[in-house]
Amino acid sequence: MSTATATAPTGLEAGAPRRSLASKLVDRLGSGAVQVVMVVLGLFWLVPTLGLLVVSMRTTQVNNAEGWWTIFTKPAELTIQNYANLLGSGFTASFWNTVLITVPTTVLVIGIAAMAAYAFAWMDFRGRDTAFLVVVGLLIVPIQIALIPVASLYGAAGIFGSLPGVILFHVAFGLPFAIFLLRNFFVGIPASLLEAARMDGASEWKIFASVVFPLGKPAIASLGIFQFLWVWNDMLIALVFADTGNQPMTKYLQSQMRQFGSNVDILSSGAFMSLIIPLVLFFAFQRYFVQGMMAGSVK
């Protein structure tokens, strides 16, 4: 990188005089244009979600009659009726199913991956490096590959459609990323800390639980938020492996899509409910979210 830095400027014409008043003026105008462009772009990214929020707070009749942007002239039309209606529908159960799938999955992925990552980072065994390369390879395996085989396995085991089936599938496909992220973090723990503990005769389990795991908290937080959002937002695995009684919000809402026009009230309020917890988590832990994202994408 440093060589590129050194050579790049030579390709440019040198020797231009100091910046004139005119060029400063151009800069100023340019910065005004940048502001305008950025405001427009920001609106492009904000408006769709805003639209969902307003639509979710209007009756079907109003939504069918006029666009959500008329809210700026008719704010009185807002109502929470759609949200109240959700409470009595199948949505409430699906909300709890989402929680019941997401929380255990996140805990299990963290626990199982942390143990494996510790072994990969600090234990010596034959085939370790090859095994870890397999994990790296598995990082981007498409979920589709496992749908048919696991469905037939679940059928044989009698857990097709159940919550444990959904959870175990999520845990397995969460592991490669989790092991990868945590192993790379654990490797950076100073060797002296572990050696000291081992000299003191601490068991590997004790070292893992009282040294490695606590030191790994930042990475575990990143992993946790990422894993949580990933499972919370999943639809494909739920579509295949969760039956109607165990379906999470995504599958419930998907089942309402067929009559999009007449179900806009349920769909908009339900979709907003489903994204409110991820958004709160995102704003609260954005730092860990960004860390996890960067660690995961640089492979």
């Binding site: 940048v34 666009g67 199982i112 590959i145 960067m294």
Partner: protein, 459 residues
């Protein structure tokens, strides 16, 4: 460990690391005093079991399963793969995936780069980054619902078409009179010609050209229409376009009666004998028009078809032609923030001195960007680009949710087709397995790339 959306970010290479970046630690240092292999196996066992049963075994099983028919009893060899490349619906699916792979990663990477560079120029960059990054936290299901609403065809409900029609109406003044037509019959001075209205006789300067129109629906009658002028004349060619209908009855056909109103905003053309348009005019509020500076001669007067078309209603985003671009739009909305944050982190790692030196040497901002920033960012841009290729290959939820059921064949992608074939009614697990293997083969080069890059970084 200070990555936040506000403030400078660490370069991605260091983000994975804890106290010190991971792969760099030398193996010899951390192999002293290790526990017995049995302990290692105990720590690895749960993960190995899960990965073995849920990920590795299915890959092997799918390879075999893809060689059998729907029921799983008849061996068909590569027959299922042949189906993928011969069935016309499947070919549409593959074509769509190709469009996705070519278009979406470039758009996301380019937008991410633009955003990352521009956010450095504004004070409210934290707010901007949060807004653009936010869709990352939202489920693709919810994003799908959001964009179903955006793409509603009715411009009174869908914001995309509302914007398009507003922009269109701002720049186009012509007001449409759909379903209006010339008065028919031998007495009428005008006739219909392929949707346009033309005068039967060549018009002469000094004699007003009268163009009677009927069938103007009340809702399309402009509020500003004035009583029609019968004697529109001037130095040159002039005339009147009016609604030849007296409310309550009593008017004469082809004659401008007192209660009849002109049709403002009509485009009127004067045609030469060879059919060339010699001049264009627009009717006034009383329906009169006049061609300025037209040479003497004989002209046919025409109201082009555009006057009679329905008003612009935007695009059918969710129709068969635009559905894939529309869904790619939603995909870009979701992922641009990811690209922006990664690239912004890379940008923060570029030595400021290099940029400043170039600026002092008189380089324009564009030259600095093109010759220094982009080359130094290329590793990050590659990571973003490759991640997006993998994501586009796996795209499922957005297509499934945004494309209405009737349009799904035209919007189909491999990941969705796999689900449809095996679970969404198709019940053909042989073909489904073949599609899953096909998908795996598509991402295989990137798996190998990941392994190679990791090995290089680790040793």
């Amino acid at each position: 460990m200070t990555e936040r959306l506000d403030g400078r970010q660490d370069p991605p290479a260091q983000a994975a690391g804890g106290p010190s970046p991971g792969p760099a630690a030398s193996p010899s240092e951390r192999r002293r005093l290790g526990p017995s292999p049995a302990v290692a196996i105990a720590f690895l066992l749960p993960a190995a079991l899960l990965l073995g049963v849920w990920v590795v075994y299915p890959i092997v099983y799918s390879i075999f399963r893809s060689l059998f028919d729907a029921a799983g009893t008849g061996f068909v060899g590569l027959g299922n793969y042949a189906t993928i490349f011969s069935d016309s619906g499947m070919l549409t699916t593959i074509r769509n995936n190709l469009i996705w792979v070519v278009v979406a990663p470039i758009m996301v990477t380019t937008l991410g780069l633009i955003f990352a560079v521009l956010t450095e120029r504004i004070r409210w960059s934290t707010a901007f980054k949060l807004i653009v990054f936010m869709p990352m936290a939202v489920s693709l299901m919810a994003a799908g619902v959001i964009f179903r609403l955006v793409y509603e065809e009715n411009p009174d409900r869908g914001v995309a078409n509302a914007i398009l029609t507003t922009v269109h109406d701002t720049f186009s003044t012509s007001q449409g009179y759909p379903e209006a037509r010339p008065r028919g019959g031998d007495e009428s001075p005008v006739a219909d010609q392929n949707g346009a209205v033309v005068t039967k006789q060549p018009a002469q300067a000094g004699r007003p050209v009268l163009i009677p129109i009927v069938g103007v629906r009340p809702e399309f009658m402009p509020d500003n229409a004035q009583p029609a002028r019968a004697d529109a004349a001037g130095d040159g060619l002039a005339g009147t376009v009016w609604f030849d209908f007296t409310p309550g009855g009593g008017g004469q056909n082809n004659v401008v009666d007192a209660a009849e109103r002109g049709l403002p905003g009509m485009t009127v053309e004067a045609l030469q004998a060879d059919g060339q348009v010699a001049a264009t005019a627009t009717t006034a509020e009383d329906g009169s028009f006049q061609f300025e500076g037209l040479p003497q001669g004989s002209y046919t007067v025409r109201l082009p078809q555009s006057n009679f078309e329905t008003s612009y209603g935007g695009l059918s985003w969710l129709g068969p032609t635009l559905i894939t671009p529309a869904i790619i739009g939603a995909f870009v909305w979701v992922w641009a923030g990811f690209a922006m944050v990664l690239i912004a982190a890379g940008l923060a790692a570029i030595p400021r001195d290099a940029l400043e030196a170039a600026r002092i040497d008189g380089a324009t901002e564009w030259q600095v960007f093109r010759r220094i920033t982009v080359p130094l960012l290329s590793p990050v841009l590659l990571v973003v680009f490759v991640t997006m290729i993998i994501n586009t290959l796996k795209v499922f939820d957005l297509v499934f949710i945004i494309a209405p059921a009737s349009v799904q064949p035209q919007a189909n992608v491999v990941a969705l087709e796999m689900w449809r074939v095996a679970f969404g009614g198709g019940n053909n697990q042989g073909l489904g397995s073949a599609l899953a293997i096909f998908l795996l083969l598509l991402v295989l080069p990137f798996m190998i790339m990941n392994i190679r890059r990791f090995r290089r970084g680790d040793s």
